[in-house]
């Protein structure tokens, strides 16, 4: 058997297996991301079977997966929504940032991973999974709830924070000095502001260049633009992911909706590959030593997200139950935590255990986040019914 044949067979097995896992996830109503990660863990280095044949394809496919994940994240909210969100609820955004970055950074420092590891883990524990949360809110019939706009506006701000965080992260991972890091922050903020202004004022221009009445040429132009911008950004040391993300923000209006629809199947394909490759490169035997930390981190950052949602919902005059729902909805972490860990691991600037901790953490949060979101209400009701509750 030549190597192409072997690759095709192994890829076929991987995709078929992922499809089956995705179906399983759909049946029990959970996000497929944790199952993809588990699948990768099972078939990677130190796993059950070593799939070496897919390495070449896996490498480039997972790169494209990250680019598409971030392009779609950029497309998710319009520039106007981002600006409005920033204006209306920046305080909740700051609270979210501080409360949820600190635990991750603290654990990384405790484990002796240094400031770079701390910055990475801060991002991993900070970013909620907008994909999982939007789905959970829809499934639980909470789109009409009063606290839902509060939850969504926090997600919008996290999206915006990513635009500043990712360039800084890539600069730090590339090993620049403190001064260099600060310059990177400055440049990142200027670039993000510029892109936002561009998108609000001239978004239709970017859209016109990419838009096409023909679905096929639209898809090709879109993908071409994304890879081109990502590649150029990478050449400028800004990270491919950031470039794709900013392009996503710059595409606006109807074009953005069409783009999201056209790209969705591609994103699903390549993102699944990214999660598998991340799992493949994580040694399952490195998980047990960090399991305790992952559980602790999960518990603490679940509570900090609840606190964030509670506080933000209270500011909007929402009752106790609504505040609890808003907090619990935010708990789920997922794809973007893995993207951040993936960027860090790929750069080689952080210890291998970080991948294990991030994987375990996301496995826990992606599974239990939606569960808590569902059952917080009966729990909160019971607590509320108790006269003179201890929390008062």
């Amino acid at each position: 058997m030549n190597s192409t044949t072997l690759s095709l067979i192994q890829l076929g097995i991987v995709f078929f297996g992922l499809g089956a896992l995705g179906r399983l996830a759909g049946m029990i109503g959970m996000s497929p991301v944790p199952l993809y990660l588990l699948g990768g863990l099972a078939f990677g280095h130190g796993g059950l079977i070593d799939l070496a044949g897919i390495n070449d394809f896996g490498h480039i496919a997972s790169e494209i997966g990250v680019i598409l994940l971030l392009l779609m994240l950029g497309l998710e909210y319009t520039a106007t929504e981002l600006v409005t969100g920033l204006r209306q609820s920046w305080m909740a955004g700051v609270l979210d940032l501080v409360l949820n970055m600190v635990p991750g950074a603290a654990v990384a420092l405790m484990l002796g991973w240094g400031p770079v590891g701390a910055l990475v883990m801060a991002g991993v524990t900070y970013i909620s999974s907008s994909g999982i949360i939007a789905k959970v809110l829809g499934d639980l019939g909470r789109l009409g709830n009063r606290e839902t706009p509060v939850v969504l506006s926090i997600l919008v701000l996290e999206d915006l924070a990513m635009a500043a965080y990712l360039p800084v992260l890539t600069a730090v991972l590339a090993g620049v000095s403190l001064a260099g890091g600060l310059t990177a922050v400055g440049i990142a903020l200027v670039v993000v502001t510029a892109v936002l202004v561009l998108a609000v004022r001239f978004g239709h221009l970017v859209s016109t260049i990419i838009d096409s009445p023909d679905r096929e040429s639209f898809l090709l132009k879109l993908l071409g633009a994304a890879l081109l911008v990502a590649g150029l950004a990478s050449a400028l040391q800004v990270s491919a992911a950031v470039g794709a993300f900013l392009l996503g923000i710059a595409i606006s209006g109807a074009t953005a909706h069409d783009a999201a629809r056209v790209l969705e199947p591609l994103r699903d394909l390549f993102a699944a590959m990214f999660f598998v490759v991340f799992g493949l490169n994580t040694d399952p035997t490195s998980i047990p030593p960090v399991l305790g930390y992952a559980l602790l981190l999960g518990l603490v950052t679940a509570l900090t997200k609840i606190a964030t949602g509670w506080w933000a919902a209270r500011r909007q005059g929402i009752g106790h139950l609504g505040r609890a729902r808003a907090g619990a909805a935010l708990i789920a972490r997922g794809e973007f935590s893995i993207v951040i860990a993936g960027l860090a691991v790929a750069s080689g600037g952080v210890p291998k255990e970080l991948a294990a901790l991030a994987t375990t953490y996301v496995l826990i949060m992606a599974v239990f986040g939606p569960v808590v979101a569902r059952y917080i209400e009966p729990v909160a009701r019971t607590l509320q019914r108790r006269p003179a509750a201890a929390t008062a």
Binding site: E76, E81, R142, P149, L152, I318, L321, R325
Partner: protein, 160 residues
Amino acid sequence: MKIEETPLPGIGVRRELTLATGRRVGVVTHRDGQAELIVSRTDDPDACAASIPLTAEESAALGALLGHTQLIAQLSAEQEDLSGVTTHQFPILHGTPFAGRTLGDTQMRTRTGTSVVAILRKGKVLASPRPDQDLLVGDIVVIVGTDAGLAAAANILHSQ
């Protein structure tokens, strides 16, 4: 009455109105056009008791159903100053002799002195129907007339 519009970033937009009873009723429109009817809960006004996805056809039908009560209220209001004249709705049921025939076949005006002012069909209003308008099972016929005239009209439409 004020309709409140709340953007739901990444999802769509929510439009709702607060009823006199304090309950919220509204529609969440997803970015892909899918609509969802929402009704708030009484014990927890922040939450929703129901959140019902509707197809485009279903929402149009529901909207028209609700709109009809307004149309009939309007017709009744217009007739209010004419003493002794009222509006009534008659459904065309299975077994009625006029299902599948035209309005003219009922000879409604000649026999009862009443007027058919509208026919409600599948969420649409056919206003001021002509005598050659056909009647189908499920239609609702809106008739204006005196009480005696309306009773006679009921006998005609509902005779087996």
